[in-house]
């Protein structure tokens, strides 16, 4: 009777050991696989990430200053309409332009003057396609008004050249189209 009991218990132990050996082999295989994935040995393009998904990408220069950022505007940024895209910054950390789409439906590329140079609104050059398809490529002066613009609107294009007379508080604009050349004078805002 006792010998029979021992035999049953030995059989159970043998079965248990077989399972343990199988588990140990599985764990070894899993560990090796994870190690290969971790060191990228299993992929042919080591160090290449197929896709990066993020809400914000910030690129720093050698001194740790933000020079490029790709993201959606945060709520504290003052703009006509919130933008999402790429913004560039100069070595002083000031925004100097960008390319993006805006919440009002337009797509914009703009370059700004350095902080403290010319009119307080720093936009100086850019191109914009409005939600209705109107396109403008423009240069603004340090006086804070449009200086030269190429405009595509409706079925034609035009060139606008402007000059601001601060003493008189007037802006003169010459408009050249395919078949006309005129000048208008408006009160400066």
């Amino acid at each position: 009777m006792h010998e029979q009991d021992i035999a049953v218990r030995l059989e159970r132990l043998e079965h248990s050991l077989r399972r343990r050996n199988l588990l140990a082999a599985s764990m070894f295989a899993l560990g090796a696989s994870l190690a290969l994935i971790g060191t990228s040995v299993a992929t042919p393009d080591a160090g290449v990430v197929p896709e990066i998904r993020t809400y914000k990408l910030t690129v720093l220069d050698s001194e740790g200053r933000t020079r490029v950022q790709i993201a959606e505007d945060t709520s504290d940024i003052a703009r006509n309409s919130p933008a999402t895209g790429m913004t560039i910054y100069d070595a002083k950390g000031d925004e100097r332009g960008g390319i993006g789409t805006m919440a009002n439906g337009s797509a914009v590329m703009a370059l700004d003057a350095p902080v403290g140079v010319g009119y307080k609104v720093r936009d100086r050059a850019g191109m914009r396609v409005a939600p209705d398809g109107t396109a403008v490529i423009t240069a603004l002066s340090n006086e804070g008004s449009f200086a030269a613009s190429l405009v595509a609107q409706g079925n034609q294009g035009r060139l606008e050249l402007s000059r601001k007379d601060s003493a008189r508080g007037e802006i003169s604009t010459r408009v050249l189209t395919f078949d006309s050349d005129s000048t208008k004078v408006e009160k400066a805002p």
């Binding site: 343990r20 790709i70 100097r96 010459r174």
Partner: protein, 185 residues
């Protein structure tokens, strides 16, 4: 005596085997957790990093060629520029620089597009927009002959258009300048 010794050895083995039984339960749980973490199922926004910060981002095409680079010019850059720049640079299928949107150490901000290498004048810039450190603006297109073909300028309080023509025989350039109130050559 012999039976007692066998009994003691079997009991010891049973106790040891019992201690390992927890591993049978823990191992599948561990593996499942690793799989879930790998597939991102454990997070609400799978695979999206809140923010990535780097000194350089390079985007490759399907053939592994560099097509976009965001960063600062390397100190040993083989392309000659007026000033060191930081921003986004685009490259063509031959990995030649074809343009970018940058700020430069001279205080300017620029967008530029270049001709392919070997096409036209050796300085490859062909279209661009620049705001200088003094706030002056230039939007221009350049011809393969070299030099601006047409440009819009904002300087001081006014703007002007310049349209140029290069005389191949004489090597000189003629420029028509259109101001607000007059045209000149």
């Amino acid at each position: 005596m012999r039976n007692l010794e066998v009994e003691a050895r079997v009991r010891k083995l049973e106790q040891r085997a019992g201690r390992w039984r927890w591993l049978l339960v823990a191992a599948p749980v561990l593996m499942m957790s690793i799989m879930l973490a790998g597939r991102g199922s454990a997070r609400p926004e799978a695979g999206i990093a809140a923010e990535i910060r780097t000194h350089r981002l390079i985007v490759l095409d399907h053939q592994g060629r560099k097509r976009v680079e965001i960063g600062e010019d390397a100190p040993d850059l083989d392309i000659k520029r007026n000033a060191r720049v930081a921003g986004l640079i685009i490259f063509d299928g031959n990995e030649q620089e074809r343009g970018g949107m940058v700020t430069a150490d001279d205080g300017s901000a620029t967008v530029a597009l270049d001709a392919p290498r070997g096409v036209g004048y050796r300085v490859s810039d062909r279209a661009g927009m620049k705001v200088g450190a003094d706030g002056s603006v230039l939007i221009g297109v350049l011809s393969n002959a070299g030099g601006f073909a047409a440009r819009l300028i904002a300087q001081g309080a006014e703007g002007q258009l310049e349209v140029s023509h290069v005389d191949s025989a004489e090597g000189g350039a003629s420029t028509r300048v259109i101001h607000v109130e007059a045209d000149s050559r």
